[in-house]
Symmetry: C2
Subunit: 197 residues, 2 copies
């Protein structure tokens, strides 16, 4: 009879479904909920359902959106498309305030080990957008790991024949980091792409 | 325009109200919620409200309960009362399967630095229970820190004149831990309370 209160057990169980939340953390969250104001809990609950119900995927770029076509697709310069792996990468990219182009969310990367081929991610949709014309540049902003690099290379090879300029985010030393601790691949890239100051 | 989707921002904001959840973690949780099945999200939301609404404090021991008097108070041996700081300590103690007594939750400890005196925690309620008779032993299971020890000493001094046996959880080396890393206070206690084998 670990915790004999059923509604508590159910709430703890719900919390364990969040990423990286185990039994102990879920218990702590559940205790915090019990100590919250009742209105705050009701608001929390309605925010959950509201977010889930109102957020769909933008039919153009595949990013989250409350409408059929997201704000970014509607208002921004569609000549440049920045290709990312997941919707949360859009959030990260949006912190770059002077990017005025649109996005394309792949919803995954090519990963043969996990059984994900080019047809399992939204490459076809990207090609459709490009075939509609008007796209000048595609910026590959997939992660800088093996799968991200491979996906980026694959898409670049598909797009080059179409006469589209395909670029990749620059790789090099992160701001604020020590050269001493930079790994050799990063240093190699940084040296290759050195620029005059 | 960090994250332009309002319902998402509101959900993230709700998650940041949980203990030790910052912006990044809240974002991760919110993304997970969006990727969940809609029924799972609805269940999560109803579990939140249900737990908050159905859990009150037991009028006898102060532990969480869905009823006026909790199951433990109703069914267990009321001759022994185990005094703890918070409801979650009851959950921990309940993992000891052969404890058959009841509990008393203080809802805090005496902590002059935080402006908490003996009247701010549920000591009066404990005395009332004892005055009703039938209690043989009170086990102090407050935390083993300065405030927990002080509270335990304070309550022991109140109860001794009433002829109640007051005990404290044994202190010593934790199971599985290295003597090498035990602090000196713990080692001193462990040596003092050594027992024949």
């Amino acid at each position: 009879m670990k915790n004999s209160i059923e509604s508590m057990d159910r709430l703890i169980n719900s919390f364990t479904k969040l990423p990286a939340v185990g039994q102990k953390t879920a218990e702590r969250y559940a205790y915090a909920v019990i100590n919250m104001d009742e209105n705050a809990v009701k608001e929390f609950a309605s925010n959950l359902v509201l977010a889930k119900q109102s957020i769909k995927y933008c039919s153009v770029c595949g990013n989250w959106s409350e409408e059929e076509v997201c704000n970014i697709c509607k208002t921004r310069n569609s000549e440049t498309i920045c290709v990312v792996k997941e919707p949360k990468d859009v959030v990260a990219m949006e912190k770059v305030r002077n990017y005025n182009g649109t996005y394309h969310v792949l919803h995954g990367v090519i990963s043969p080990l996990n059984g994900k081929g080019p047809d399992d991610i939204k490459i076809k949709e990207l090609l459709n957008r490009i075939n509609q014309g008007g796209v000048q540049e595609v910026i590959m902003a997939t992660n800088s790991d093996v799968e991200g690099e491979a996906t980026s290379m694959y898409i670049a090879r598909l797009l080059k024949p179409l006469g589209i300029k395909v670029t990749r985010l620059a790789q090099g030393i992160s701001m604020g980091s020590d050269i001493e601790y930079a790994d050799e691949v990063t240093l190699t890239k940084a040296l290759q792409d050195r620029r005059e100051i």
